[in-house]
């Protein structure tokens, strides 16, 4: 077992030199070109690459339809490659995207039984365990995956993400800088994804100025990065720059099939008294959350709960999703969300506050 105190940040962090990265607009054009070029008949390795690229595009452009297409493809590929361990690893990755964590771990176990898997599959397992809130196991698995010292960037980036989620800001920043130093590619995507994780970390600490710096860095690397733009808008709004936030959110809410942006927009517009517009965006978000929680309940339970507890204004529905979310992932955030949901449902408000405190304590006991 690794004691987190052993992984401390040095007092003097060397600053990484300037990185040469492909312009974000070129990177998105070429991501599209890769996907287009791999559509159609292909080898399994190419299909696996296509699935990874669809997931990446889904992540960058905020396109849930890309995740859904990846899931369709992978089911088809596992069907035709039933004895291929790599097929199960790819399916595990896709299932994890939809928060089907237990099934994803089963796939990784199955792949291991067919043929022992390497560091990449172990990193996959660590990320899933982390998402489920099994932090000790996740950290041990991250370290085991890091045995391959050739992959310095992957190791540092995984640990930066891990400690960022745990809210250990110094350690997360130490590994973030390590990641920058060890990065040898020219694609901006891996670094923008990392910037985003650090931005989230600061946002959860209520350090909005720091959060904004990281989100801006992510957006500078990849202007089309929807989640970074969306969170930057959220921070802008919190810092009083409401018009800038609305300006960022409208194109996202219009183009993305992820209802988070419409929900954020509805909330901000409501707060500044633009009620009609707020109601219109709220309807769009509500309808889409209903669709998504029907199709992929585990994946969208947490965001749906937040929506219904907030601008969606249906605390009972919010509670239902918060409870379900906690069954999927026992993270501190899931406990907090449930506490918030219980609090919001007036009949149980007192007990919710009490239970919420217990939950917070329990969450704090997590490693």
């Amino acid at each position: 077992m690794i004691d987190p105190s052993e992984v401390s940040a040095p007092t003097d962090w060397p600053v990484p030199g300037p990185l040469t990265l492909t312009d974000g607009a070129i990177a998105v054009l070429n991501l599209q070109a890769q996907i287009d070029g791999l559509e159609g008949p292909s080898t399994f390795a190419e299909a696996a690459t296509l699935i990874d690229l669809l997931i990446l595009r889904g992540l960058i452009l905020g396109r849930i339809s890309d995740y859904e297409r990846a899931a369709e493809l992978v089911d088809c590929k596992v069907g035709t490659a039933i004895t291929d361990a790599a097929a199960y690893v790819v399916r595990a990755r896709t299932r994890a995207v939809f928060h089907r964590f237990t099934e994803a771990l089963d796939d990784l176990d199955h792949a291991d039984r067919i043929l022992p898997q390497g560091a990449a599959a172990e990193r996959e397992r660590a990320a899933i365990l982390q998402a489920m809130g099994h932090y000790n196991e996740a950290l041990v698995t991250h370290e085991a995956a890091a045995a391959d010292r050739e992959e310095k960037f992957e190791r540092a980036a995984a640990l930066a993400g891990f400690w960022a989620e745990r809210g250990k800001t110094e350690t997360a920043q130490h590994f973030y800088l390590d990641s920058l130093r060890s990065y040898r590619g020219v694609s901006p995507f891996p670094l923008a994804l990392l910037d985003f994780q650090l931005g989230l970390m600061w946002m959860r600490q209520d350090r909005l100025s720091e959060a904004r710096t990281y989100f801006r860095t992510a957006v500078r690397r990849v202007p089309a990065y929807a989640a970074a733009q969306g969170h930057l808008a959220e921070v802008d709004a919190e810092l009083g720059e409401t018009e800038a936030a609305i300006g960022r959110l409208i194109p996202l809410a219009t183009s993305s099939d992820d209802p988070d942006y419409a929900a954020q927009l509805a909330r901000i517009l409501g707060e500044i008294g633009r009620s009609e517009e707020s109601i219109a965006w709220r309807r769009i978000a509500a309808s889409r959350y209903d669709e998504l929680t029907t199709a992929h309940p585990a994946a969208f339970a947490d965001h749906a709960a937040e929506f219904w507890l907030g601008v969606g204004n249906d605390p009972r529905k919010g509670l239902r999703f918060a409870e379900f979310n906690l069954r999927v992932r026992e993270t501190p955030r899931a406990y907090d969300l449930l506490a918030q949901a219980l609090d919001a449902n007036t009949t149980g408000a007192a007990s919710a506050r009490c239970f919420g405190a217990q939950l917070t304590n329990r969450a704090a006991m997590q490693p």
């Binding site: 054009l29 070109a33 040898r184």
Partner: protein, 374 residues
Amino acid sequence: MSDHFSGPRALADPTADISDVFAFPAPENPQQLVVVMDVFGKAGPTAVFSDAVIYRFRIRPVDIDGTGPDAAFAPGQGDFIFDFTFDVPSGRSHSGRPLQQGRCLTPGGSTISFRIDDENGGANDGAQVFAGQRSEPFFLDVRMIEKTVATGKLSFKPKGSDTLYGTNILAIVIKFEWRKILKGGPLFAIVCETLAAGKQPVRIERVGRPEIKNVSLSWKMFDKVNKDIEIRDLYNSEDAFDLKPDYFDAYRARLNANLAFYDGLDEKIDWPFDRNGNHPLAKLLLADFLVVDPSKPFAETSYFEIERSMLEGRTHVTPGGRWLNQDIMDFVFTLYVNGGNGPPVNDGIDAPITWSSNIFPYLAPPNPAKAAAA
């Protein structure tokens, strides 16, 4: 596409992933040498070059240093370098392709500017350049190669399925008066590289000969020395003209093992190992650059003819190098399996969707988006 997907790192940056290198005397003008670098295999319609990558052609005079069992090249000192760089695209063409400007810095220090996909490209000082999307000139049946390796039996069908049929790549083409721009010769060694731009450019990938990293180096299971190591990223990071002695034996062990596997596919040994336990082709193949003699007239099927002549102790008669339309997979499998002592190995694919032409920029125009799926 002989080098596509040639290592995990290359996968992360498709624009830096070199798929093929060609070098041949210009079919229409024997005074000129043509060198081609293909990147981004299976590129969709929006593919463009990276603004963070230097696309480099390194050309060196080379001598023959030995023949027969000691066949070897001795590259000279110092490169003639053509460097290509590209801007961020601005706008779209009528066909919907992103509009991108590029520049070529020649060995003489002059700059040639051009717009991608413009078939006339740019010209200056005895050199003409082109960069843009073209039809994939390579053809092969990947599934049957994998099956051959998995089963230990040549598995090609009389009529195979071209894995690359109807797909496109990004190509960079230079045609230049070699006697004016290069010094020395007439034998030249050519290697293409992609480098992360910056104050100290870092090599991402390098390619010289076809099918070294994929067909020849990628299989780990026959290598008794380093069966768990993905050796290709390390190999990519090396200077083709100056392999580090520390790793040379690791590359040679992998090559010895894989070449021995191929040699055994016809159940007879055509390439007995030498007294040091090495495959006779290993050292020549690890001199991983295309060797071309532009003083010889253009030839359609001249890849490795210079090396064969060295092994056989005779003088070469073709320009060597590599022409766009040569059936490399048939050649490589025939070379590895029977060394030309048996019937040619045919992989069942004898042509790409469209042949390259004898007119600049040689590679055929790009295929429509749906050609591959159809």
